[in-house]
């Protein structure tokens, strides 16, 4: 059998496999992928994952099918003699095609990822000067996330710099999370919201999230921060607007005695350098 | 302790230009490594300076003595020039090499004196950190390079006294002369490059 026939059969197998597998992956597997539908950013990530899976499935299948086919078709049947294959050292047409195709895929992926990221920041921490803001970012609720070994606390500057031990966010609202740290590097990961932002000491790292309906989400530190890193997790809640107002009021009452001795709200804090400690 | 002399005559000798060329190439490669090492400090300098975290680039009165920096840089440059001159004057290698070595060590000594008389300590902000770190490791590697210079001088001195030895490795026929001059060339090239890094350090740390 000559090259062309082999190649035709190979392409047929690949097409068949791709046509079956790709829709399965994109429409059945991908929508169920984490982090779910908890916020606009989280569902954006799910869509993004679906697109990446859609592109990479046929690519992976091409390589796998090729190897599977070639290994079966060109296996040495006569183990006794050592015979050589044809001395083919390249094929400029194939090489050019490969280069063009892979370049196109890569450029598409990079462009797609950049555009998606620039839409709303995708929930990632963008530092003190964010370049990608979701619509309505100007009126966003500002919430500061303060990480320290080994606890997150939260401050609400629009409510007098109130500092709370738990995170609650109003539903259907744009929230700007200002993530910072008092000691070492932590990372604020609100899983169901699709938010991750490193907490660096002395840095105001802003991540935007657009909440949807009420839900409970997991918060976990995602950067190794010392001995009790594994225990640095908690739960936060997204609640209806009215419930949020009530909660804030209740918190202001509860923490009123502490509030007086708090340092004033600031974008970053510089406690004495801790050279040694935990 | 040395390479086995080719006992059997049927071993083809190694091409005699290999080792001198390896020295030539090696010196250039080392320059690359040295450049990347100090690039980390250059990066640290500009990074911390531009961030100026907590307004602490310089805490208090952090002023380095310009005169010391200039003296160190001049000593280094002179040393590199002398060693480079030695490569083209085989008969004066020992004298020029001793001069280069002395100036290199003088630079290190000046550096140590400067540290002891500084008006600030390592904890006085980002600039102080970079200054201490950079000059410290520059001095350490300068001493190492001074060792390299010393070996060249000592070899030249001994071969003047005892004559150039026959090359004994890998069956190469002929004497050590081209190997020795390649070693000197490699050493002087690296030293010149290293001194250039020192001049950059002077410009960045004292002038900018």
């Amino acid at each position: 059998m000559d090259d062309v026939n082999h190649f035709r059969r190979l392409c047929l197998v690949w097409l068949l496999a791709s046509v079956i597998a790709t829709p399965l992956v994109v429409f059945v597997l991908a929508p169920g992928l984490p982090p779910g539908n908890g916020s606009v950013q989280a569902s954006g990530q799910v869509v993004d994952n679906a697109v990446l899976l859609g592109v990479s499935t046929p690519v992976a299948l091409a390589v796998l099918v090729y190897f599977f086919y070639a290994l079966v078709a060109f296996r040495e049947r006569d183990q006794s003699a050592v015979l050589d294959g044809p001395p083919v050292r390249g094929h400029s047409g194939v090489q050019t095609t490969w280069l063009v195709v892979t370049t196109a895929i890569v450029l598409f992926l990079a462009a797609y990822g950049s555009i998606r990221m620039l839409e709303d920041g995708s929930g990632g921490g963008q530092g003190p000067n964010p370049i990608a803001k979701p619509t309505g970012a100007a009126g966003a609720l500002q919430v500061q996330v303060i990480a320290q070994q080994w606890k997150f606390t939260y401050r609400y500057p629009s409510y007098g710099g109130l500092e709370t031990a738990d995170l609650e966010l109003p539903a259907h609202r744009v929230v700007a999370l200002h993530v910072t740290s008092l000691d070492v590097i932590h990372s604020f990961w609100a899983y169901q919201l699709g938010v991750k932002a490193d907490a660096n000491p002395g840095v105001d790292n802003i991540a935007y999230v657009q909440t949807k309906g009420p839900l409970t989400f997991n918060v976990h530190c995602a950067e190794l921060c010392g001995v009790w890193h594994g225990y640095m997790f908690e739960r936060g809640r997204v609640v209806a607007q009215s419930q949020f107002a009530a909660w804030i009021h209740q918190q202001q009452q509860q923490y009123a005695p502490v509030q007086k001795s708090l340092v004033p709200y600031s974008k970053q804090y510089f406690p004495d350098p801790q050279r040694r400690g935990g | 302790m040395e390479a086995s002399a080719p006992a059997a005559a049927h071993i083809e000798p190694e091409p005699r230009e290999w080792q001198p060329r390896a020295l030539w190439v090696g010196a250039r490669l080392l320059c690359g490594a040295a450049a990347f090492f100090f690039m980390a400090f250059v990066f640290a300098y500009f990074y911390l300076r531009s961030l100026d975290v907590n307004k602490s680039w310089k805490i208090g009165s952090v002023n380095v003595p310009f005169g010391f920096g200039l003296a160190i840089a001049v000593a280094l440059v002179l040393s590199a020039v002398l060693l480079r001159l030695a490569t083209s004057r085989p008969e004066k290698v020992v004298a020029l090499g001793v001069g280069a070595l002395g100036l290199a060590l003088l630079a290190v000594v000046l550096q140590v004196i400067e540290w002891t008389t500084l008006g600030f300590g390592p904890a006085s902000g980002g600039y102080a950190s970079v200054f201490i770190g950079w000059t410290a490791f520059y001095a350490v590697f300068a001493v190492t390079s001074a060792y390299w210079i010393e070996t060249q001088v000592a070899t030249a001195w001994r071969s003047q006294r005892e004559g150039v030895r026959q090359r004994r490795h890998e069956g190469v026929v002929g004497d050590d002369r081209e190997l020795l001059s390649a070693g000197l060339e490699a050493c002087s090239f690296f030293w010149a490059f290293y001194v250039a890094i020192g001049v950059v350090a002077f410009v960045i740390l004292y002038v900018v």
Binding site: D84, H91, A222, R276, G277 | L48, S129, A154
Partner: protein, 632 residues
């Protein structure tokens, strides 16, 4: 068969122990440690303000102890002899202890024969590979339950850090150390490396580094993982000093290894060995060596800054005093990303070197493969900030780093294309080395494609710092490096050791490893997606079934490694069935030499007049040369 007359050592056994060898090295190493420790104690370390010295927390004395210990160790091995002779003006020589015969003794002292160094490397690194592997087993044991049950949090993090540092630090040399040192001279037709003493030096430095890392357990371990992020490192216990000592020495060793390999390949190619005739493995060594030479110094500088922060109270990484944690992250990853390609690139070379042999075809697309390797090497310097996509640094540069990261898949794709072209219409034989190469193809494909998700910012927000990224780099590093390492051992082992491996055990090793590997790391993608961050000692209870599955699979990997060890002992020590000089019927130069390879490799230098893959062409066979000793 050696052309050199070997004089047998007739001294009594106890007398042979005295002299410059490993034993003396260890003794002087301990002496050096004690001296350094005492000097350090005379200096007031800032750590003493927080801990008393009785807790062994004086950073200065510990670091000086390591420094002097290493110096003592090297002096004991005899590394100081030649520099002292040079100091006195004695002329340069190029070798030491090469002519010490066939005895085992030469493996325990400074020997500059590139074949001896290679064997030293493979055994020495193998021991530390085992240590790193056992760490992994212990980590998985701890993760059998969602809460701490075997180890405490600190012990667990130390295990994680040691495993990471061992595997990412020492294993950078696991292919280049043994195989490049052994093969490069044979493949390019020379008898030695350009700087044989430096070659031996890199090995012994590595051993010292490994021991230093293990000593961290005496100083409270380190809590930072292999990345050693500051400012966590600034407050870490004294065990972090071991991390600094370890990684800085690894950096020096790596840098010098790359330096030596480059100098050798550039200057010492035999007549006719033009750049376009270099075996592809040598090209992969070139690409890797460039990275080692240039990236490793940055690592050393970074770690020295960390050491200064901890001892001299500088403030490179302490924000309150004008430093920045970002500085560490940037510097570390400028080194760190080339570093992962230092780990991956030799594997590319081995796969492309072996596929022609077992497909009986010339390498397809030689120039493309070379371009791919050099392309990876070059691009890897421009991608480091993808490790910092959510760190809040330079948000406006993210599209650039996204693009540059994804661009790396182009040259990597070349490697795949060349592999695919090579097997097309070949006569493929499924030997054990070939199986490992094919295992690489599968693993690296998964690893590469999962990398796309990490390079894409929106996707990365969830997967970053989670078990997903952990699974990704284990697919590329373990699936890439370790599989090609075994391919190389099974392929060149018969030549290096002169014995044949047990075929059945080798095949059991491959299949158990391949299946257990995938069964271990594929579920980790899911775990990461489900929200499990890296380096945690606890996790949500609902993730326990998956974690248990992973742990059990990991133990099977451990069993598979035991099969390998049994195979090694059986074939190398017990059975010692002599190997065919060319069991694979390979046409490359190294296989045309007799087994064992004679001391001086070639009596006359080979002359090359074609590329190294003359399969299926009329004039078959090796280039014209007479192997040493006249045997064929």
């Amino acid at each position: 068969m050696s052309a050199i007359a070997v004089t047998a050592d007739r001294r009594p056994a106890w007398r042979r122990l005295i002299g410059f060898n490993l034993l003396t090295g260890i003794v002087l190493g301990i002496v050096g440690w004690l001296i350094g420790d005492e000097i350090g104690k005379a200096i007031h370390a800032p750590s003493l303000d927080y801990y008393s010295d009785s807790a062994g927390q004086n950073d200065i004395s510990i670091l000086l102890g390591y420094l002097f210990g290493v110096i003592g160790f090297l002096i004991g091995l005899g590394f100081a002899n030649y520099p002292v002779r040079r100091l006195l003006g004695h002329p340069p020589t190029l070798a030491e202890h090469e002519d010490e015969g066939e005895g085992v003794g030469r493996y325990f002292r400074l020997c500059t024969d590139h074949k001896v160094v290679a064997i030293q490397y493979i055994i020495g690194i193998g021991v530390f590979f085992l240590v790193g592997g056992i760490n992994a087993m212990l980590i998985r044991t701890e993760l059998l339950q969602p809460n701490t049950h075997v180890f405490g949090a600190n012990q667990y993090l130390t295990l994680v850090g040691m495993h990471g540092a061992m595997m990412m630090g020492m294993m950078t040399s696991v292919i280049l150390g043994p195989f490049a040192n052994w093969l490069v001279p044979l493949m390019i037709g020379t008898r030695r490396m350009a700087f044989p003493r430096i070659e031996a030096f890199t090995f012994w430095l590595l051993m010292a580094a490994g021991v230093i890392l293990v000593t961290t357990i005496f100083f409270g371990g380190f809590q930072t993982g292999w990345t050693g992020y500051a400012p966590l490192s600034d407050q870490g216990t004294a065990g972090y000093d071991a991390y600094i000592g370890f990684f800085a020495l690894i950096g020096v060793s790596m840098c010098l290894l790359g330096f030596n390999l480059l100098a050798t390949i550039i200057t010492m190619r035999a007549p006719g060995m033009t750049w376009s005739r270099l075996p592809i493995f040598v090209w992969s060594v070139v690409a890797t060596a460039v990275l080692m030479l240039l990236a490793a110094p940055m690592l050393i500088a970074t770690l020295l800054m960390a050491a200064l922060d901890r001892t001299a109270q500088t403030a490179f990484f302490i924000p309150g005093n004008g430093g920045s944690p970002y500085l560490y992250q940037n510097l570390f990853w400028v080194f760190g990303h080339p570093e992962v390609y230092i780990v991956a690139l030799p594997g590319f070379g081995i796969v492309l070197e072996l596929l022609p042999v077992f497909s009986r075809k010339p390498l397809w697309g030689y120039r493309l493969a070379v371009a791919g390797m050099l392309g990876v090497s070059l691009l890897s310097f421009f991608v480091w900030q993808h490790h910092l996509f959510v760190s809040g640094i330079n948000a406006d540069l993210r599209p650039f780093y996204m693009l540059s990261t994804e661009l790396i898949s182009l040259p990597t794709g070349f490697i795949f294309l060349c592999a695919m072209g090579t097997i097309w219409r070949g006569r493929i034989r499924f030997t054990v080395p070939m199986l490992f190469c094919l295992g690489w193809v599968f693993n690296f494909l998964i690893g590469g494609i999962s990398g796309v998700f990490l390079s894409d910012v929106p996707s990365d927000v969830t997967t970053h710092g989670s078990f997903f990224s952990m699974a990704h780099f284990h697919y590329t590093i373990m699936g890439g490096l370790v599989f090609t390492l075994f391919a190389a051992i099974y392929y060149w082992g018969p030549k290096m050791f002169g014995v044949r491996f047990n075929d059945r055990l080798s095949k059991i090793h491959f299949w158990s490893l391949f299946i257990a590997f995938n069964s271990t790391f594929a579920p980790l993608f899911a775990l990461g997606m489900l929200g499990m961050p890296r380096r945690v000692v606890t996790y949500p209870a609902n993730l326990q079934p998956l974690n248990d599955w992973v742990s059990v699979s990991a133990f099977v990997i451990g069993l598979s490694m035991i099969v390998f060890l049994v195979n090694l002992v059986w074939s190398l020590v017990l059975k010692r069935e002599p190997a065919d000089p060319n069991p694979w019927r390979s046409k490359s130069l190294e296989w045309q030499l007799p087994t064992p390879v004679p001391l001086h490799d070639f009596d006359t230098f080979p002359v090359f007049d074609e590329d190294p893959y003359p399969y299926g062409v009329e004039r078959p066979g090796p280039p014209a040369f007479a192997p040493a000793g006249g045997a064929g």
